[in-house]
Point group: C2
Chain length 190, copies 2
């Protein structure tokens, strides 16, 4: 993908985190990307398309980002904690991703065409977490009374809820992390 397009998508991600999907102005985006207004339409036919592509871009980037951060050989419990706590970190890219994800979730209530990709990403995320939970139970010899898929769904939904509270300044990062860690312990019975 040509570098100018990437520059635009990166700028869009930055602006969405700052102003929200619905606060994104095409002119402002052009300025942020250091590009003319017209170029936005040359590469991405209209605002809606640009938004869709930006959301995909953010998703991909989050995937890559997540991969490289999780310690590879570590025990599954460590990996699970990393994976979930990664979403609640005071770092520019995490904030950008979380804010954009929250925006996506919120926008999906009113724009049905966003729902499918959103549901798919959620399913994938849940599955990854469920697999880690299974691995933990095996490694630690825990009894898995409850289906790991349910535990995973609860934990990821909690991450989303806590992220929103953190980003909207209702709680601070440290507290969000602490609450999340305790939920993991609760779910895994230890």
């Amino acid at each position: 993908m040509p570098s100018r397009q990437v520059a635009i998508l990166e700028a869009a991600a930055r602006l969405i985190a700052r102003r929200g999907v619905r606060g994104l102005r095409m002119e402002e985006l052009a300025a942020e990307a250091g590009v003319s207004g017209g170029l936005l339409y040359y590469h991405f036919t209209d605002r809606a398309t640009l938004l869709r592509r930006t959301l995909e871009f953010i998703n991909d980037r989050a995937g890559a980002y997540t991969e490289e951060r999780i310690p590879d050989g570590a025990p599954s419990r460590t990996r699970l904690e990393h994976k979930l706590l990664l979403e609640v970190q005071d770092e520019a890219m995490v904030i950008e991703n979380s804010a954009a994800w929250g925006e996506l979730r919120a926008s999906a209530l009113f724009e049905p065409e966003l729902r499918d990709p959103l549901r798919n990403s959620t399913v994938v995320w849940n599955r990854e977490v469920a697999e880690l939970i299974d691995a933990i139970r095996e490694e630690e010899g825990l009894e898995g009374e409850r289906p790991s898929a349910d535990a995973a769904a609860r934990l990821t939904a909690l991450v989303e809820g806590l992220s929103q509270r953190w980003l909207s300044d209702s709680i601070d990062v440290a507290e969000a992390q602490r609450l999340l860690r305790e939920s993991i312990a609760l779910e895994l019975g230890s």
Copy 2:
């Protein structure tokens, strides 16, 4: 309050659930309320005021609604379940309230002046839930190893996360309710 004003506020609540706070158009609202465009400005000087009044309206309505739904003499555990599950029901008014709440949460990321009222409401909600948890522990003679405030924060954050998933069609109501019920059981150790 004159009936025309109420009609406008009810229409606004309906539209916010359908299009979001940021998608609310004054003309569309007038049509939905069966009223002329100018009347909106006669009763509520501008869009921001109208929005504020609508949010108050929704809040009051939710308060009343919640009160009357929770069985008064019932054991605290029942009352807690009612209180939390009430937010995840397939009913017009609940949907309107949840959608508006989600919008408020999402908007707060980009509009700092919304943060204080939001934080306050969250604190109140957490406290009410925490008090119910304490009551349950007392009634059932449970050991309260973990602070009830933390359990309450996790449960209410989970409700928000699950509501968003439900409203954005990533899961259905029944599943959201089931997951929530299990979390309550987990948090209360039973």
